[in-house]
Subunit: 339 residues, 2 copies
DNA sequence: CAGCTCTATGGAACCGCATCCACGGGCGAG
DNA sequence: CTCGCCCGTGGATGCGGTTCCATAGAGCTG
């Protein structure tokens, strides 16, 4: 087995307290004593147990990251940002992939007792009310990414505006029959962003006095395949849309697939705009609304580190940081044809 | 603060040992007593501290995953597999992204004291000898993914064969001027797979009695950009290759970029084959050697769980599992032109 | 009915570290 | 020279569980 602090103390002929002081760089240890202790540590190849240390200090040096559908490229990008932010800190990253409601329950359960991690980063998920309650009552710092909530600081983008940006672009290209493919709104995971993007879509249409047709608004899941079959439905409508705004690039790619299957040319016969600007998008030339995914994770990580460092008071819980969006026009959007 | 097991014991009018027995579902607790305890637990909204539990049990219920360049799509896919394997287990996932040698040092340091995690999964990385020593001397179970090592069980593919598969495909299409773009071989991270793929490439050439030209073998990094500029060099050679085998899809995409920049048509003037079959590959129609990335992570996770469950003896450390490879022919490879 | 076994339960030690508190000795000040 | 203070140090306690061991009582056997 490994040696303990007591072994070191015995070998060095000192007390455990002194060893602990040496380990933690405390003052008030005579140089000769320190040397003896260090020697003993070396001789025994002693390494302190982080576990015991944590229990004693009531800190874990762990940051929990709760992320739904780690599957999705955008989520991965965000986690990468978090990992980068944490790289230079003493904190380690505990990853919780939530792929079902039950798992979500589990993850929050794990964390509400605050001694599993020192802080929590929740990505693209609005915690249910009872969890909010528990998280607040504990003193566990929480930062939200891509999900606003009055109770916690968050890093977000203006999804409504993003939806407007995309839709307005299509309107300006002359499109009037513009469909929307998004997520089911009050879904069990409570994704917030898709809902807001829908609102942006609606607003842009209203602003341009374009009629909103309910049959053009479809909601499915983030999945590529679901979006594809949804889009096939859409493109088989008697009066089919000339443009589609998808609430995520993954879904937009599904729409492109659908167009390919139905032999509908893009952008001549159909314009498609996505959201996120994930890696693939540049390859396939997808027009999309870029949001800084990596950056959102990095900022959230940094914010949490700041709070952990004691800046909690100054920041306050209503601290919300908004990152900027940008429309990236590529080759899947073009002018509406005369018809 | 949170209530402790002692609070529960007091409220229920029993001893802490009994509460512990109830918590852990031990037998020999009278039903009425059990009920009283459960009632107290409920009243206090008590949750046991995993931390203290771990210290006492000398288990952490954490599996550490060390992965270099979490950036890369293939690494992500593997981690997803691990996450899936662990989802139904009581183990949590601690993620260590290694982007520099220093970080690697840090990660291994963290783990060699076994009480940070119960098991370690090392992805695409061969641990340095001194770490092997420490890991072995501790009783920390280790499973390697995409990296063989005699000291640990591992999940691998036959990279040599993969290299042969890709190269032979090109040879059969009539290509003779076949270049290779891979990683620098004895790199600080000690990636193993690229080296073996190089050997497969060499073997296939030798077997077909095609001359191996040193100037056709280039080594850079996993990065897309590096591969692109490497490929540009390659394609500007006086006698430029008619086909390129890239050691990863990421690199193959860089080669495709290079071809686009130089206005070299694929596959008419240049055939490109990659390795991995990451998501994007299907989109861009890249011919590639598919390896089960997700599956490798899942299998490794399961293997580690088995070992943790006590199957360590039967399996032995020399246990190596080889997953199968498959050549996926898409549209970036075609017959060599008569010249 | 004595003696024994088995069940239910509580007390206390332990996991490995941090730290409060007490204490002894050296040293400066009066 | 003595008093008090501060420095260096060690013992004991706490963090919040688990579990060994001792014990009391119930039930059973002869």
């Amino acid at each position: 087995m490994h040696s303990t602090i007591a072994d070191v103390a015995t070998l060095a002929g000192v007390g455990v307290a002194t060893v602990s002081r040496v380990l933690n760089g405390h003052a008030n240890v005579r140089p000769t004593t320190r040397a003896r202790v260090l020697e003993a540590i070396d001789a025994l190849n002693y390494r302190p147990s982080p576990l015991a240390r944590n229990l004693s200090l009531r800190r874990t040096h762990v940051i929990g990251v709760v992320v739904p559908f780690f599957t999705s490229p955008s989520a991965v990008e965000r986690v990468r940002g978090v990992a980068t932010a944490l790289a230079r800190s003493p904190y380690d990253l505990m990853l919780f992939d939530i792929e079902s409601e039950e798992r979500r329950e589990h993850a929050f359960q794990l964390f509400d007792r605050g001694d599993r991690s020192d802080g929590l980063l929740i990505v693209s998920l609005i915690p249910p009310d009872d969890e909010v309650e528990r998280l607040r009552s504990g003193r566990l710092p929480v930062v939200l990414v891509d999900a606003p909530h009055p109770a916690f600081p968050s890093i977000v983008v203006d999804d409504v505006r993003g939806g407007e940006l995309a839709t307005t672009h299509l309107i300006e290209l002359g499109h009037r029959r513009i469909a929307f493919v998004g997520d089911k709104s009050p879904d069990p995971f409570r994704f917030a962003s898709s809902r807001d993007r829908t609102r942006g879509y609606e607003r842009a249409l209203a602003h341009a006095r374009v009629e909103l047709r309910p049959e053009y608004v479809r909601e499915g899941t983030q999945s590529h395949h679901v979006a594809r079959s949804t889009a096939i439905d859409l493109l088989r409508l008697p009066e089919r849309p000339t443009a589609v705004f998808a609430a995520s690039d993954t879904q937009a790619l599904g729409v492109l697939d659908a167009a390919r299957i139905l032999r509908i040319r893009v952008p001549e016969e159909l314009s498609v705009v996505g959201f996120d600007d994930i890696d693939i998008s540049a390859y396939v030339g997808l027009t999309t609304v870029r949001q800084p995914l990596f950056e959102s994770g990095r900022r959230a990580g940094e914010l949490l580190l700041q709070i952990l460092a004691g800046a909690g008071q100054q920041l306050g819980n209503e601290h919300t940081e908004q990152l900027s969006l940008e429309l990236v026009i590529r080759s899947t959007t073009g002018p509406a044809r005369q018809s």
